[in-house]
């Protein structure tokens, strides 16, 4: 593994670490090889954490003062929050939510391109395997070190984001089920980031080239995120209510569907009949009788479903990540087996087999 770093290996400190054996050396070499990514990750963590802390404390206070001043000046302007500090606060919140929610994409393209794809493309991976490191251990280290750092980083980002978001609810006009906020406010942020790592690594191994792996990893994460957003409401049992309750769902509910039941007992979804009958139960009964309906219903997720939905999605996404990791190891083992089988055939056919395997 000592041959991996392409930059100078001559400083005394590095000579010292060369003597490290086993997994410590392997971990160190992963960190050393990807030190640029490590620094960017630490910088990103520091910048986003600082932004979120500012938005939670002084930013929120300044924006709220802006808004109070505006409301004193004119009642109409009160409904269109603006102002220098409000603008800064809004941008800070939006940017940090963006970073936390879309972090998995960054992880996936990095894992596909820099962590695995480039190593296979330039042949440094194959060189490492000829030394004391088996391919499986090489991949294990490549996945374990970033996974630990990602877990540690998101363990800081998610609580800070929750702090900022819950603290600013009266200014933000945001709902708990907004896609980006949902991604940034709970454990799914960690699950998607780890899934990005696994999918990126698999794409890198499959393609063996940095830039195509980058593109494929990005597209795969796009598909996974899209499917997650699409099927999120079905990941936990919804609540169905009938009658007048269907017209007055609890505050902050995610309304999913509304419909009617006819007097013949047929259930019709996606129908807003009698929605305007808000003047009490008698009004609703009159409207239903007029339309030949026996009842109206609505399905929704109350706010209390936030954590069940988070945990269910976390589990599913982690399962996808685990499948990708297993596929990556199986693929790698098979390739290495093919390559070493090729070592026993004549040289001219050997190159072809290794080429096919890589």
């Amino acid at each position: 593994m000592t041959t991996l770093p392409t930059s100078p290996l001559t400083s005394p400190r590095e000579d010292h670490s060369l003597s490290l054996r086993g997994s410590r050396g392997l971990v160190w070499s992963v960190l050393r090889l990807h030190r640029a990514a490590l620094w960017i990750w630490l910088l990103l963590l520091a910048a986003v954490s600082a932004t979120m802390l500012w938005a939670y404390g002084p930013g929120f206070d300044a924006a709220a003062a802006d808004l109070r001043q505006q409301c004193r000046d004119s009642v109409v302007a009160c409904h269109f929050p603006s102002g220098p500090w409000y603008g800064k606060y809004d941008t800070a919140v939006a940017l940090s939510t963006l970073v936390v929610a879309y972090l998995p994409f960054l992880v996936a393209v990095w894992a596909g391109a820099a962590l695995i794809g480039r190593e296979l493309e330039t042949g440094t991976a194959h060189l490492a395997w000829t030394q004391s490191v088996s391919p499986a251990r090489w991949l294990a280290a490549k996945l374990a070190v970033p996974a630990l750092l990602i877990t540690a980083g998101t363990a800081v980002l998610i609580p800070l984001h929750r702090l900022m978001w819950n603290g600013g609810e009266e200014l933000l006009w945001a709902d708990w089920y907004d896609q980006d906020a949902f991604h940034a406010n709970g454990t799914v942020a960690l699950a998607y980031a780890l899934c990005g790592l696994a999918v990126g690594a698999l794409a890198g191994l499959l393609l063996g080239r940095a830039l195509p792996a980058l593109g494929v990893a990005f597209a795969a994460m796009l598909a996974i995120t899209y499917l997650g957003n699409d099927y999120r409401p079905s990941m936990w049992r919804t609540v169905t209510v009938t009658g007048a309750k269907a017209l007055n769902l609890p505050d902050d509910s995610l309304r999913l569907d509304q419909g009617v039941i006819t007097t013949e007992g047929t259930r019709i979804g996606n129908n807003l009949a009698c929605t305007d009958a808000l003047d009490g139960a008698a009004d609703l009964r009159r409207c239903m009788a007029r339309g030949g309906l026996s009842d109206i219903w609505a399905t929704y997720h109350p706010r209390s479903h936030f954590w069940p939905l988070q945990l269910a999605e976390t589990g599913i996404v982690l399962a996808v990540a685990a499948l990708a990791v297993i596929a990556a190891f199986v693929l790698l083992n098979r390739r290495v087996a093919t390559a070493s089988a090729a070592a026993s055939v004549p040289p001219d056919r050997r190159t072809a087999a290794v080429g096919a395997a890589v």
Binding site: S82, A210, N270
Partner: protein, 292 residues
């Protein structure tokens, strides 16, 4: 120039160009054929979707709305969202594809060549560094202008075809850009910024990252300040509740009428093309100084 093709074999030698595109431009196309195929497929899919939605789907959408009945508010809405959403997806994806262009230019077109040394190898042959960079930029630029123009024309037609079925208006970020030359300008700017990042950093992945970040900063700030690109009309307080249709309201009560679309759009196009020109000049200047 066959040195460009990494797997130089007899098959490659046979594949020497016979068509209208020869020499240096041909090698650029040949080397980046995967990108070419992906880009052409993507553009054809976008254009095809627009034509399909307008020519085939629109009528069935009207039928579905008619069958929604009197109380079908939600049914009507979801049907409209399906149609309007598909068209807006096409414009969103093609508009923001300048990120992919920047990533390609920084990563694959320039950065990887300088990192691997294939560029330096080409320069030892009959191609000077300046001509090498010129071909690398000219071929994708021609394709971007051609493809972008086709998309803008088709999108203008598709966007205007069934206004009653669409939920957007001219002020939407993607609609604003995709109805004119700004879409093409962003593509060219992505190309130039990517090339500059590639020449400066000489490594594919850092160049890819930096060019995407630069394009994000440029695009994000221009989108944010679009309303300031042309003087607004002051409402004067007397027109409360009586503003003309389709205006772009700016926070303080003043607004842009739709007649401001072209001035605003062209100012933005000019700024983006200016950045593209500066980046191209810087890339050539730097390359010449390095290889002098």
């Amino acid at each position: 120039m066959s040195a460009f093709a990494v797997k130089g074999t007899a098959e490659e030698a046979r594949a020497l160009p016979r068509g209208p595109v020869r020499g240096l431009p041909w090698t650029v196309l040949r080397l980046h054929r995967a990108a070419l195929v992906v880009w052409v497929t993507f553009l054809l899919a976008a254009v095809g979707t627009l034509v399909w939605e307008v020519e085939v789907i629109a009528d069935s959408v009207r039928e579905r709305i008619a069958s929604c009945g009197e109380n079908g508010g939600l049914c009507r809405l979801t049907t409209l969202v399906d149609y309007s959403g598909t068209i807006s997806w096409a414009s969103t994806l093609v508009y923001y594809s300048f990120f992919a262009v920047a990533a390609f230019a920084g990563g694959a077109l320039i950065g990887r060549e300088l990192e691997n040394g294939t560029a330096q190898l080409a320069w030892t042959q009959s191609v000077s560094p300046t001509r090498w960079l010129a071909a690398k930029l000219a071929v994708p630029a021609v394709l971007l202008v051609l493809g972008g123009t086709v998309f803008v024309l088709v999108f203008r037609w598709a966007w205007a075809a069934n206004r009653d079925l669409m939920g957007d208006d001219w002020t939407f970020n993607d609609v604003f850009a995709a109805r004119g030359p700004a879409l093409v300008a962003y593509g060219l700017c992505g190309l130039a910024v990517g090339a500059l990042a590639g020449v400066v950093l000489r490594r594919s992945l850092p160049a890819l990252g930096i060019s995407c970040v630069v394009m994000y900063l440029l695009n994000h700030n221009l989108e944010k300040h679009r309303v300031d690109l042309w003087p607004t009309v002051a409402s004067g307080g007397s027109t409360v509740g009586g503003l003309p249709d389709d205006v772009w309201q700016v926070g303080d009560g003043s607004f842009h009428t739709q007649s401001h679309y072209w001035p605003m759009h062209l100012v933005e196009t000019g700024i983006v093309l200016g950045v593209a020109g500066l980046a191209t000049a810087a890339a050539f200047g730097l390359l010449r100084r390095r290889t002098a």
